[in-house]
Amino acid sequence: MKFATRWPPVPAGILIGISMLLAWVVAGRGIGASGAMTRLVAWVQHGLFPTATEQSTYFGAYFADGAHPLNDYVVVLVLGLVIGSFVAAWLSGELRVEVLRGPRSSIAYRLMLGLLGGVLAGFAARLARGCTSGQALVGGAELSLGAWVFMMCIFVGGWMAAWFVRKQWI
């Protein structure tokens, strides 16, 4: 991979830190990605079962006082994220439809585990009130105790399971 495509980790991390800083300075809040996903499922489920979703203990809050779940800061932020990643990949000539996996992994195995991992991470992000960006990075920079515990547990959990799915990656 070319140097221009993949930056060394420190400058890449600094630019992510700058995006966090911009959100604090402009909006007075952190960045995040998982919140938009929760709002998306709330919106889809509301389209199918409006009454049940509005009465839901968890999703109901998104519809309080006639609010639209997608009319929110985190959703606009993710829109920007999508454009930013697309432009970066396009400028680097890295736009390609493919299934990324280790040399010993079949496509079916990779997609099956991708789905399973997604379900686990989706559930976990709700339980922890945020994901790697909204909880670990933002909270980590705010010196939040919960965020640092969350981050350490991510690596503990990942290392615990790494051996079992090694054929997928290495």
Partner: protein, 252 residues
């Protein structure tokens, strides 16, 4: 003292403009995620095998940058930190959430932000991960009464590492910088030991120089912070503006 930021809270910009400005901020975030190599699930998963420790190093760098910027801007009187939404701690739910999230990351190869960034570059595995992620969020929300009590348990309010360790905020900042640098070097060492480089990178010297200079700057700022008392960064007597919806969602 009249502070300028957060712009949306001090009335410097309208709520509509604030929402529009989320697009360029998200753009920078997505642009950086791509160049960090995080649109490739293998690079994320390899962190857990020490084959590519880019993930923790990028995370450390982002945290240190954000931390020095946040508290630095507060120190010089530019940012009113009492108007910034700081994340509250629910200790046990966050610990269990972290373990499950780590499992999900090594099994699925992404986290939500990186999966969205990767999907738009054409990666099918990111699409499948996101479908799973939406399902997982749906299961959590629809069966909320099952784990709602646990979700809201162990609430500690906004609690920072310096308060837990009973040291000054500046000392905690310097501590995080030291942990980040030591962690980076340790992980690099482990990576080189288990996965030695087969073809040397011709730009290695420049990269080491650049990153070394950036780390030195962070260390100097962290060292300077240590000489200021906590209250020059943040006034702990001002109630943080967080709010808790007991049974529903908090903003993140």
């Amino acid at each position: 003292m009249d502070m300028i930021a957060p712009l949306a809270k001090t009335g410097a910009i309208s709520p509509e403009l604030n929402l529009w400005l989320a697009i360029p901020i998200g753009f920078v975030f997505g642009f950086a995620l791509f160049h960090a190599g995080f649109t490739d699930s293998r690079r994320i998963a390899w962190a857990f095998y020490f084959k590519d420790v880019g993930v923790p190093v990028v995370m450390f760098s982002a945290i240190v940058t954000g931390m020095l910027g946040l508290f630095g801007l507060s120190l010089i009187g530019f940012l009113d930190i009492s108007e910034v939404y700081l994340l509250p701690t629910f200790l046990l739910p966050m610990a269990v959430g972290g373990l499950l999230f780590g499992l999900g990351m090594v099994i699925g190869g992404y986290c939500p932000g990186t999966a969205i960034a990767s999907l738009v570059t054409g990666k099918i595995d990111a699409l499948v991960f996101l479908v799973g992620f939406l399902l997982g969020s749906l299961i959590f929300g629809d069966l909320f009464p099952v784990w709602g009590d646990f979700y809201n348990s162990d609430y500690m309010g906004v609690v920072r590492l310096d308060q837990v360790l009973d040291i000054s905020l500046g000392a905690a900042v310097l501590g995080v910088v030291i942990v980040a640098v030591a962690g980076t070097l340790a992980m690099r060492y482990v990576q080189n030991r288990f996965w030695p480089v087969t073809e040397p990178d011709p730009q290695r010297r420049q990269v080491v120089k650049l990153q070394g200079a950036l780390i030195a700057v962070a260390a100097v700022i962290g060292f300077v912070f240590m000489f200021f008392p906590t209250k020059s960064f943040i006034d702990d007597y001002v109630e943080p503006p967080y709010y808790i919806v007991p049974t529903g969602e908090v903003v993140q």
